[in-house]
């Protein structure tokens, strides 16, 4: 096969590559940002859902046992046949002698009563949320 076309010169190829990299640089930066945002959203949603689930489980027990007592150190509550406690970054719930771990890695769990209402504060921070200084969840009006 005979080639009568002149090949690209080095300078043409270099200019072409430079142009492609200029075009793709913002594109790659955007992709990277997108990737970060996606993972952040997924982690946030997962944490939120997990904490909500823990809160609702505690909430339902407290509602079912309105004679519950908040522990003196405010790190748990006790009712007839059950209790919930936060110790060593773990929330455990004991129901009829059986103990289950509701959540791990919990950096704050507290119960307190104010004006006839019980407030439950629950935070599970990781590096992502520490930078936001955000309390993850607050459930009130039990």
């Amino acid at each position: 096969m005979r080639h009568d076309r002149k090949a690209f010169t080095l300078i043409e190829v270099a200019i072409c590559m430079a142009l492609i990299s200029i075009i793709f640089f913002p594109f790659m930066a955007m992709t990277d940002q997108l990737h970060g945002a996606y993972h952040k959203s997924i982690r946030k949603s997962a944490r939120q859902a997990e904490l909500e689930s823990v809160c609702y489980r505690i909430q339902s027990q407290l509602r079912a046992h309105p004679d519950y007592r908040i522990d003196a150190d405010n790190r748990g509550a006790t009712w007839l046949g059950g209790k919930v406690r936060w110790e060593g970054e773990q929330i455990t719930m004991a129901l009829d002698g059986k103990e289950v771990v509701l959540s791990e890695g919990v950096t704050l769990f507290s119960l307190h009563r104010r004006a006839g209402r019980t407030y439950l504060n629950l935070a599970r921070q990781d590096d992502l949320f520490r930078e936001d200084h955000r309390l993850m969840m607050r459930v009130e009006n039990l």
Binding site: I11, L108, H112, R113, R114, L135, R138
Partner: protein, 249 residues
């Protein structure tokens, strides 16, 4: 460099290249927007959860302690407003009939008082304003040195500090704010501390207006107020939660 010998791109080649580039960018941009929306949704859900406690506070508040306030002008030509985190630029003063805005007054933020240069012709004025709503019930356990790390930045202001012990909640008066820490009396180590605070970074802004019998906004004084809580989320976005307040007979 002599390019004349080389074959140029045909129109169809250029069009195909442009079309491919456009498709790639369209996909990338649309995905980016989609995830931006997802992030906003997560932030919105979070803000909505937080706002329920803000609405509870407003539900319990007296009708007269929410804007617009109808107040009598005192003998010293001042009017004391119920809130102490008022956004000064939002204040509008009208006569009791809800007429045109009055002038000739100054606002003293330290005491939340309006001071009139001349006494208004009627002894009563209606004051519209926006204020920042505080956050309540933020809890932290004090450390072994009876200190807690405050969550806020420059706009953070403590309103009340309480000690929770079991079912009891006691307001504390002895505490000292040292930079980003709050120092409590030494015997209060490892205790649950409940904080009520204002954070201007959070900017939960509350505004209000009177509603007439048809639930339309009016400047005249009625027995119904529409209170709106504005809560920011995901950067520049804001959500607005409404609350109707009726004056008790």
């Amino acid at each position: 460099m002599d390019m004349r010998g080389g074959k140029a791109f045909t129109l169809i080649e250029i069009m195909v290249t442009v079309a491919i580039a456009a498709i790639v960018f369209a996909i990338a941009t649309s995905t980016y927007m989609q995830f931006g929306g997802l992030q906003r949704q997560v932030e919105y859900d979070h803000s909505l959860t937080q706002s329920s406690s803000q609405l509870d506070m407003l539900r319990e508040a007296d009708f007269e302690s929410l804007p617009p306030e109808t107040r009598r002008v005192e003998k010293d030509q001042t009017v004391k407003l119920a809130r102490d985190t008022i956004l000064e630029s939002s204040i509008v003063v009208r006569d009791a009939a809800g007429g045109l805005p009055l002038t000739g007054w100054t606002f003293e933020p330290a005491s939340s008082k309006l001071r009139f240069e001349q006494p208004p012709s009627q002894g009563t004025v209606v004051v519209e304003y926006e204020f920042f709503l505080g956050s309540q019930n933020l809890t932290q356990f004090s450390d072994s040195q009876a200190r807690i790390k405050l969550p806020g930045g420059p706009g953070f202001r403590l309103e009340q500090v309480s000690l929770a012990e079991g079912d009891k909640l006691e307001t504390l008066s002895e505490y000292r704010q040292q930079g980003e820490y709050l120092q409590l009396p030494t015997h209060l180590s490892n205790k649950l501390i409940v904080l009520d605070y204002y954070d201007e970074e959070g900017k939960n802004k509350v505004s209000g207006s009177f509603l007439d019998a048809n639930f339309q906004r009016t400047t005249g004084v009625t027995a119904t107020k529409l209170i709106e809580v504005q809560e920011p989320f995901a950067g520049g976005w804001k959500m607005s939660l409404p609350l109707l307040k009726e004056q008790k007979p």
